[in-house]
Assembly symmetry: C2
Homo-oligomer: 336 residues x 2
């Protein structure tokens, strides 16, 4: 569901690339995109308008078409026997809905009641990098500042960045309709700019994106006492979120121990050699599956404190890949 969107396209590619076992696949969308053609494993499919009945005989339904669509159709899919893996924020904080990053809390899948939520893109890559540190040293406090790509706001936002980038000298006057939030009152150019707003503001002055990172991290890591703070920022980058993370551990550690922990962990890749200018950057890691970690440094004042630079493709591990990995885990664990 949402097959023609930026994440939907990535989901299709992940299913192909990973040889996901499929008897029958149906590509769904809103009425607006229905009728489009999609090439999947060498066969052409016509995108169909999603209705409640579309989910008859479906085992696993991947949803990525916005929260209101999920709210309406995910329960219909569940009613018809599908397990829904939902990439929107609609159900993430619901008590009955597991919120899963397979590398971190695969076990939670067994608790599902029909819907499993895929976390927010910026949350996924952070918890992948933090989980190995948690297992070895414990986590006390996390302060993250994000550097997020426009693809998180959809294909129209990518096109807007592209159009705005052409007129370097008049960037300030560039037409802006998509960012920071399509439905918001004010829109700002993103080319050659930085927008410290992603999603709407909550009453406490944090954005919903920031609250997602805070609340989802506690839920995924099963630790309500973990202190998490986030500042989420949109940049003129097409794909790939970066995060500057300061973490305070329960126990003292060394940089070498942190590097070793990252090296041994699933889904993450150490990319950290300052003397050769090796560190992750979004332009270089776009399209790749892993969460890349570099710039690992001990805080100069607190031996329990460490700074990390974490980059991942927000459409891949941050969305499509994680959803497909959840589907794979459902099969592996005989849940589906």
């Amino acid at each position: 569901m949402g097959a023609t969107g930026a994440v939907g396209q990535q989901m299709k590619e992940q299913l192909e690339k990973r040889n996901f076992p499929i008897n029958n696949i149906v590509f769904l969308s809103s009425s607006r995109s229905a009728g489009k053609k999609i090439d999947f494993n060498g066969k052409v499919y016509t995108v169909q308008e999603a209705k409640a009945e579309s989910f008859e005989e479906i085992d696993i339904a991947l949803f990525s078409a916005g929260g209101s669509v999920s709210e309406k159709l995910a329960p219909e899919a569940v009613k018809r026997g599908a397990i829904v893996i939902d990439n929107t924020s609609a159900f993430r904080m619901s008590k009955d809905v597991p919120l899963v990053v397979p590398e971190v809390n695969k076990g939670d899948l067994r608790l599902h009641k029909g819907i499993i939520a895929n976390p927010n893109c910026s949350t996924i890559q952070m918890v992948c990098a933090l989980q190995p540190l948690k297992e070895l040293f414990g986590l006390k406090k996390v302060v993250v500042s994000t550097y997020q790509a426009v693809s998180g706001a959809g294909i129209d936002a990518i096109n807007e960045l592209k159009m705005q980038s052409i007129d370097f000298d008049n960037a300030k006057q560039a037409e802006a309709k998509m960012l920071p939030v399509k439905s918001a009152e004010h829109h700002y150019p993103i080319a050659f700019n930085v927008i410290p707003q992603i999603d709407q503001f909550a009453d406490n002055g944090y954005t919903l994106e920031e609250m997602k990172m805070i609340n989802e991290t506690k839920k995924i890591m099963h630790d309500d006492a973990l202190a998490v703070a986030a500042t989420c920022v949109r940049l003129p980058v097409v794909t790939g979120h970066s995060e500057s993370i300061y973490v305070e551990l329960d126990k003292v550690a060394t940089v070498e121990q942190i590097k070793q922990a990252i090296k041994n962990a699933p889904g993450v890749k150490l990319m950290d050699d300052p003397s050769n200018q090796v560190y992750p950057m979004p332009l270089m890691t776009a399209g790749l599956d892993e969460v890349f970690v570099g710039r690992i440094r001990q805080d100069l004042d607190n031996p329990n404190g460490f700074h990390l630079w974490v980059v991942a493709d927000n459409l891949v591990k941050g969305a499509a890949l994680n959803s497909v990995q959840i589907a794979e885990a459902l099969i592996e664990e005989n849940i589906v």
Copy 2:
């Protein structure tokens, strides 16, 4: 000195705009740029090649032509009776050299022995925002992640961003010669990318830019015990550095008190109204004198902790304006 560079041009504009009292002005540069014409207050000047003798009869010499030039020529200027205001990092941490942001430590000017250092751009805007909090509540710890513009790396870096931005679809293959560091072995495209390296790496894994922010902040604020951590990151933005700052205060405060403190402080401007999507952004504040502060939020776990979003034009308050303000203070305080 360095009249034809990005900062030199801004210095000239600030001197004009602020009606700085001048009897005689000389524009200096390397031999490469000597002979160029500069229009100043309606009169055309020819840029001259800088030599030791260029500083005869000069009261105040503004230097912004790189550290090695300052190391060579600043002592010559002092020998000839000039007070040097140096915008490079050459002398900033020298014991005998005051490092001054007038809003924070104007009093240090009296201790000068010929050279006064202008701090690093990213340091200046941070201490301007933190000083009012320090005065009212005390500072314990600062964790900053920066979002820095390419103009900090000079005019050639701006042109490189411009060239790279034209070919949106092949950004990864774009020619890169300037960033992260012109003299470094590897160069990476900055358009549609994020580079977590500014300046060279120190042995401890921090970059020199990060160490500047850490050490300069302690020196300017006269507080060696202040814990400061920095992650410095270059973005595809032309002008205007942004900073996501987490600060722990000695005393508990409220968001309203922090806002009031910023409102009452010199050189900083509160720009913080989330309900109307008002917060500072580099594209909108480029060319302006003030340090803009928004997104002020209390940490959700620590009542002494606050998050700020601080934006300033790195060529204006971050360099040229601060240097000219130092010169103005020298006159006001009868030091020159």
